[in-house]
């Protein structure tokens, strides 16, 4: 059991720093309030792995994100507005901006 817990811990550590924030029953990302003080934005390049248009979530395999001090990884992120996903498809190379306001990560621009 302890080994399983360790695995989960390592999995969380490997991915946790970039988990998209999603509060149950909370605001849609598009309704986020004005940027908080200390908000950080990272820019990077990535390859789309999967799109969930209904949830407004895109999974990206990306390189290091400058500005967020985030290493390359594959992670699912909410987008600010679901319409940002309308012209995207899986296995498309994109440039994107990821914002962290101290609580959640949000893609604010993706092309």
């Amino acid at each position: 059991m302890k080994y399983f817990l360790l695995i989960m811990l390592l999995a969380a550590a490997g991915a946790g720093s970039a988990f998209a924030h999603h509060e149950s029953g909370g605001q849609h990302p598009g309704q986020a309030q004005a940027p908080a003080a200390g908000q950080k934005t990272g820019k990077g390049t990535g390859l789309i792995q999967q799109i969930d248009r209904e949830k407004g979530v895109v999974t990206i395999k990306h390189g290091p994100l400058q500005g967020l001090n985030m290493p390359g990884m594959t992670m699912s992120y909410l987008v600010k507005d679901k319409s940002m996903l309308s012209n995207l498809q899986s296995l498309q190379k994109v440039r994107f901006e990821l914002t962290y306001d101290g609580k959640r990560y949000l893609i604010t621009n993706i092309k």
Partner: protein, 561 residues
């Protein structure tokens, strides 16, 4: 670290890494704060966007897979280039390049007839040694092509041989020492289709045309980095399991579709993956369609075998007919790999067949795991695509078409008579040394040794026994084809597909050069070592999981004249 041994830490790390890799494909994460209280949130059933929007690449007059008479090819240049596997993203790519009739062909589909003379020069423009192996053909050792004949960068190698084998779907790929996996992965592979009168009779009966209704399908899993470029980076642990890609392109087309008429199609399927096996089926919605196995590595079967699914290991070929008149409505049909237990049982106890003491339950055998247990559907991560996971490979759109009334012939060909062998079988056991090295009878490859010697003209039975503490191994012999006589102790998922004839699978009814041997299984094969070449000849016998081959699961065998 004293209370948590290093090897378990490695195993756990691998498992965790795998878990990270797996979950992105299956779930969306949520967190109340970064790095804390993480919990996956299931994606909606409609969320996985597996849209098949790329037209399947087919052999054309030029470019990739272009079909050309083999005897017209005078030179194959092994080249580094850029190629768009993902749409509009250029990636470094290696290809066999031929110039014929002013056209540039990449990995050309070579066409030949039995008796044809093939004379061509291979020129190595890579920055590392290479050699072409003509997979499945009966050649002398020099023209067979393996590591002992590899040539350095800038050098050439002249092949000259006669096609002596039956009509079949053969292929050619790199076979240098230690780096065959990387070279094949980066693009080096092509088909050699040999046709004869039986083939042409079948084509006439069903009105088949290569590239239109007679379609080669080369299945190769691949991974791409964040810039969309081909990526081949394997840890030692991953080498132990073999490469597993995150995408499964068919004919180097990711998420491909193919527009079809309501008629019979022939698919010549090559599993060109480095390591991954597939359980192939055609599905329309939840319904599996019958299809007909008509050929294997060594050509047409005598009669078509009706199946709904078939396993195909790395390097194997399945030649099938799909009758789309049996599909209902216009809902697309998918070529899929159904879910199966990939049986990464490397770490079970050999005697009891149960997880070793202290094993991690339920996580499957991750690469590098020294003490992990393998439960049902145990699998390791290949980025986001587990081994044995159900996955769609090709979408077949059914279009309206003219009426088609052809029927599959009941007789396809005549196989050579099975030569009876005398004496005890030669026993070859597949296993590993629990230090991360696969072997055959405990032997690991040494280019200066041939631990097996057979007499030219001898008929032998080889008993290939795969240990229980193992994984599936697609075993390939150079120089000769063989027949499968019997399968024993097959796992349930294999036994379920077996015929009443000695546990044989439908694909065991044909000539083979590669046979997939599952953990715990024993497979008896019959070989006839007759060939026309004078002098002693050395050939290879190896696992065609290319990472296993590259790390030594290969032996040379000598054919004494």
């Amino acid at each position: 670290m004293n209370r948590f041994p290093r090897r378990r830490f490695i195993a756990a790390s691998a498992a965790a890494a795998g878990l990270c890799g797996l979950l992105w494909r299956r779930s969306v994460f949520a967190a109340t704060d970064a790095g804390h209280k993480t919990a996956p949130v299931s994606a909606s059933p409609t969320a996985p966007e597996e849209q098949f929007t790329n037209r399947l690449r087919l052999p054309g007059a030029s470019g990739l897979y272009a079909a050309v008479a083999a005897k017209d090819v005078k030179q194959i240049t092994v080249s580094e280039m850029n190629f768009e596997i993902l749409p509009r993203i250029s990636s470094p790519f290696w290809a066999y390049v031929a110039e014929v009739g002013g056209k540039r062909l990449l990995n050309p589909t070579l066409l030949a007839r039995p008796g044809d003379e093939i004379k061509l020069r291979m020129v190595n423009r890579l920055k590392q040694p290479t050699i072409i192996h003509w997979h499945g053909l009966t050649n002398d050792e020099r023209n067979d092509g393996f590591g002992n004949y590899q040539v350095d960068p800038g050098k050439g190698f002249d092949y000259a041989f006669t096609v002596r084998d039956r009509a079949a779907n053969y292929w050619y790929h790199p076979h240098p020492h230690d780096i065959a996996g990387e070279q094949a992965y980066k693009g080096l592979a092509g088909l050699l289709i040999v046709k004869d009168d039986d083939e042409e009779k079948l084509a006439r009966a069903l009105d088949l045309a290569v590239g239109v209704t007679d379609i080669p399908l080369v299945i190769q899993d691949r991974s791409f980095n964040f810039e969309g470029k081909l990526e081949y980076k394997l840890s030692r642990e991953q080498m132990f399991a073999g490469f597993l890609g995150e995408e499964i392109p068919v004919n180097l087309t990711v998420r491909p579709y193919f527009d079809a008429a309501r008629r019979i199609y022939r698919f010549r399927i090559l599993n060109g993956s480095n390591a991954r096996s597939y359980r192939l089926a055609f599905a329309q919605g939840k319904r599996l369609l019958d299809y007909y196995l008509i050929g294997t590595d060594g050509g047409l079967l005598e009669q078509p075998q009706k199946v709904r699914e078939a396993f195909i290991g790395a390097a194997q070929r399945l030649d099938v007919l799909l009758d789309l008149r049996a599909a209902s409505g216009s809902e697309p049909v998918f070529l899929k790999s159904l879910a199966f237990d990939p049986m990464h049982n490397e770490s079970i106890d050999e005697k009891s067949g149960k997880p070793a003491a202290g094993a991690m339950q339920g996580m499957g055998a991750m690469p590098g795991m020294q003490s992990g247990g393998a439960g049902p559907h145990a699998a390791h991560a290949g980025g986001g695509l587990m081994d044995g996971m159900e996955i769609s490979l090709l979408q077949i759109n059914i279009k309206s078409s003219a009426e088609y009334k052809r029927q599959i012939p009941s007789q396809l060909s005549q196989l050579p008579k099975l030569a009876a062998a005398a004496g005890e079988p030669r026993r070859l056991t597949l296993g590993h040394d629990r230090k991360g090295n696969w072997n055959i009878n405990g032997w690991r490859f040494n280019m200066h040794e041939t631990p097996v010697t057979v007499q030219r003209g001898a008929r032998e039975i080889w008993l290939l026994r795969n240990n229980r503490a193992s994984m599936p191994h697609p075993m390939h012999i150079h120089g000769f084809q063989f027949r499968v006589l019997e399968r024993r102790d097959s796992p349930a998922q294999v036994k379920a597909l077996a015929t009443r004839n000695n546990g044989l699978l439908p694909q065991d009814m044909g000539l083979l050069d590669t046979v997939l041997v599952w953990p715990g299984e024993s497979v008896r094969i019959a070989l006839d070592f007759s060939h026309p070449f004078s002098g002693d000849q050395t050939y290879m016998f190896h696992c065609h999981n290319l990472e296993h081959e590259d790390t030594g699961m290969m032996i040379g065998y000598k054919l004494k004249a």
